[in-house]
Subunit: 243 residues, 2 copies
Amino acid sequence: MSINHYDDETFFDAYAKMQRSQYGLSCAGEWYLLENMLPEIKDKQILDLGCGYGWHSQYFVDCGANKVIAIDCSKKMIETAKMKHTHPKIEYHICNLEEYNYPTNTFDMVFSNLVLHYVEDLTAVYRKVYQTLKPNGEFIFNIEHPVFTAGINQDWIYNAQGDIEYWAIDMYYYSNKRNTQFLGCDIQKYHHTLTQIINELIVCGFVIETIQEVCPNEEMLKQPDMIHEMRRPMMLLVKARKR
Amino acid sequence: MSINHYDDETFFDAYAKMQRSQYGLSCAGEWYLLENMLPEIKDKQILDLGCGYGWHSQYFVDCGANKVIAIDCSKKMIETAKMKHTHPKIEYHICNLEEYNYPTNTFDMVFSNLVLHYVEDLTAVYRKVYQTLKPNGEFIFNIEHPVFTAGINQDWIYNAQGDIEYWAIDMYYYSNKRNTQFLGCDIQKYHHTLTQIINELIVCGFVIETIQEVCPNEEMLKQPDMIHEMRRPMMLLVKARKR
């Protein structure tokens, strides 16, 4: 079962204040890499797993997608998406990504941004995505990096002066629920090893086309404190093709 | 240029005392996973990059390999290999793995165990391996995991009582030389990100067939202190096929 914090009012309000929530894709640190990984979008059928505010779904229809099915388990997220990014070619559904029916052989691309680390059984989702893709269809996702999810409290270790000392991990090979603080709330995520994230895709029949860890580009490094993002990986982008 | 500590007498003597040096593959924690990744060996032409004492080369000829070319940059290692694992089908050469001539379209498998983290330019080696493999040939290697090479001093962080507290990493996205202590000697290795280790293979034309992080099995976990090996990944096994 996946975890949904996004219907919690405090969390949802804090999320609304994030740069990426207010200003969209251009304010998401991963977007400059993720956009480059996308295949031709024109006339394609796309499934957006965990669509949030619908920024990506909107982008896909702007690029000429024929149809986007966008699901999110959070009622509040879907309500916001319907207000902010309504479009005749986007169909929004309140639905847990483990419970969606995944019609066979239907989509040219399945996309998922920063959601799969809330999923306990990653392999089960991989199998469903495989089934719902057309042959040669692409599965493109951004998941929190195992180094990040295995991070102690998913926070830096600070020295006595309150400065960042380093990033510490523990219990790496125990794939399980981890507690952390995010936007001032207690949050749970699922830590998966790299083997589980990548090798299980191969076992399911996918061909790995790109693996890209997200680091800031030159422009982003001009922002205060962004240099720390060079010190440990936070996100992992994967592009896999159905054989 | 890759790094060679193995001709240093102090280091070489300490290495000789390691379980894996004395008793071979069965005492190497990765072997139970690595052996499972090997293709059919019988009648194959194999290149062993960084052969060390020659344990793997010996295993390959025992499995019916037609020919094994085994190279190592350490004169002392090759001398030991020639004493311990001499065989008419194994040809040992003292040679840096960046300087080897890599004959085109020659080998069915290129194998490399715990050597590539001494190599600065991983992609250059990948290209040479690709060229020297026959079509559908396999490249199977074990490299120190990026979490390990990015580890601070490549050692645990200990608390005031001297107990292991956690594993800390830093400067992850800076792919460069790292200093550590190994077997009582000052050692340098090259840290490479996961993106460099995996994605560069894909860029070179390889298909990723298996990615497997090494964790201890049930039997190994009975050994004292082995439980700590569950806390951070040390080795990464990769199997890639030439397209």
